[in-house]
Structures are given as structure tokens and as C-alpha cells.
């Protein structure tokens, strides 16, 4: 019973830590572009630079929203899969492994935000192209890139979930039974 209590506490703690890390990445990315845009507005620079930073700011916000929506979707799906299969838990990790997985995950999310920002930029560029064939090619390339970045994100979440399942089996084999 005490094992169950301590394990549920650990799950709760790890979940809070992951939420905190996610929030941190989202806030850091948003603040960076917001700060750059505000600084550029106050500097005596040409108008196109102000417009460009404003555009980048919007694109990065959209990318942050996409990354964390996809991540939440992947985690919810894996949790449902885990609860059906039993034994998986998103927030269950050894303390030593947690740091490394959290760092690699943050890197994956940063790459995801960067990737989606680039994809939204490409789509904006495609809007301005008059040649229909070239426009279609850019849209298809953006879609393929979107799939690849989404797969990379899902892979990062999956890695963590599988690690957590393994950790759970090692830590408390009795809980699963």
C-alpha cells in the first residue's frame, strides 16, 4: 500500500515536472521572439525589419501552439494505449534518466517549434507565388516536412513513454500485477 502511495506521489511529481518543462519551453520560445520584435520596434531600423520580426513572431506563436497540441495529442493517445495495455505511464521515470530524457525532449520540442515556424513561413511564401505549379510544389513540400517534424515529435514522446514503462517494471513489479 505504501509502495502504491509513494509511486503515485512520484507520478504526480514527474507529471508536474514535465508540465513545468513544457511550459518553460513554450514561454522561452514565445518570449524570445516577442522580445526581439519589441527591441527591433524601438531601434532606428528600416521598416522591412520591423515587418519581418512581426511576421516571425506570429509564425513562432503558431508553431508553439502546433507543437504542444501535437504533443498533448500524442501523450493522450499513448496514455489511452498504456491504460488498455497496462503498465505504461507517461510520468514514470528514474531520477537519473529523467534529466537526460527531459533534455533530449526539450531539444526535440525546440526543433519542432523551429520546424513548424519554417513550414508556416514556407506556406506564407507559397501564398505570394503566382505560378500555380510552383505553389503546389511548395505546399506538398511543406506537408511532407510537417509529417516528418510531427513524426519526430511523436517519436520523442514515444521514447519517454517506453522508458517510463521499463522503469516502472524495474521499480515496482508488484504494482503492475
Amino acid at each position: 500500500m505504501s509502495d502504491r502511495e509513494s509511486s503515485s506521489k512520484q507520478i504526480f511529481k514527474s507529471t508536474i515536472m514535465h508540465l513545468f518543462m513544457d511550459g518553460l519551453v513554450a514561454i522561452a520560445a514565445s518570449l524570445c521572439v516577442f522580445g526581439v520584435d519589441e527591441v527591433v520596434k524601438r531601434l532606428p531600423v528600416s521598416d522591412w525589419l520591423v515587418v519581418l520580426t512581426g511576421h516571425i513572431e506570429r509564425v513562432v506563436f503558431m508553431a508553439v501552439i502546433t507543437v504542444f497540441s501535437l504533443k498533448a495529442l500524442a501523450e493522450i493517445s499513448l496514455e489511452i494505449y498504456g491504460s488498455i495495455k497496462k503498465g505504461l505511464s507517461v510520468a514514470w521515470l528514474h531520477t537519473k534518466r529523467f534529466k537526460w530524457t527531459a533534455a533530449s525532449e526539450v531539444f526535440s520540442y525546440a526543433v519542432g517549434i523551429f520546424g513548424f515556424a519554417f513550414i508556416y513561413g514556407l506556406m506564407h511564401r507559397a501564398d505570394l507565388v503566382e505560378n500555380v505549379l510552383a505553389k503546389m510544389m511548395i505546399y506538398i513540400a511543406a506537408f511532407l516536412l510537417f509529417c516528418e517534424v510531427a513524426y519526430a515529435l511523436a517519436d520523442a514522446v514515444k521514447d519517454r513513454v517506453l522508458l517510463s514503462a521499463e522503469a516502472r517494471r524495474q521499480m515496482l513489479p508488484a504494482v503492475d500485477r
Partner: protein, 96 residues
């Protein structure tokens, strides 16, 4: 000059993104289909973007709307071609 710099930056960002995603994605060695799909998707992205870029450039030259000289446009096309070939060579290592 700013246009060329922005273009170079776009290609640099694309190549960096493809490279980092390629490094992050490490499918299991037995997952041959997924590995091939990822490689094909990367090459398709690169090819589509290169050909759309060529078409936009040629369209611009044909209409005479571009602010650059013909030589600058040719240099941009050549640069994009070299970058695409270089990326293909790096990514195709171990795919054969």
C-alpha cells in the same frame, strides 16, 4: 543584396532543419520501411523546393520583373543546385 541574403538564409535554414530532424530520427535498424520513407520524404522535400525555386526564378526572368541581373539569377540557381546535391550526397550515405 538583401534578397540574396534572405534566399541564402532560407536554404541554410532548410538544410539545417532537415539535417537536425534526420539526426533526431533514429528508427530501429529493423524498421527498414520507416527509414526509407523518411529518406524519400527528405529527398522529395528538397527536390520539390528546388524545382519550385527554379520555376519562380524562370518566371521572374521571363517577365523581366526581377530586380537582379541574369548572372545573379543564374548564380542563385547554381547555388541552390549545389546545396541540393550536397545534401543528397550526405543523406544518401548508408542508404545504398
Amino acid at each position: 543584396m538583401i534578397g540574396i541574403l534572405l534566399l541564402a538564409l532560407t536554404w541554410a535554414v532548410l538544410v539545417a532543419l532537415l539535417y537536425v530532424v534526420h539526426r533526431i530520427l533514429k528508427p530501429h535498424p529493423t524498421a527498414e520501411t520507416i527509414r526509407r520513407l523518411i529518406f524519400s520524404a527528405e529527398m522529395a522535400v528538397l527536390t520539390l523546393l528546388f524545382f519550385s525555386f527554379v520555376m519562380i526564378e524562370l518566371d521572374g526572368i521571363r517577365r523581366g520583373e526581377r530586380p537582379h541581373t541574369f548572372l545573379q539569377s543564374a548564380a542563385e540557381l547554381l547555388g541552390a543546385f549545389i546545396i541540393s546535391l550536397g545534401v543528397y550526397k550526405v543523406f544518401s550515405k548508408g542508404e545504398q
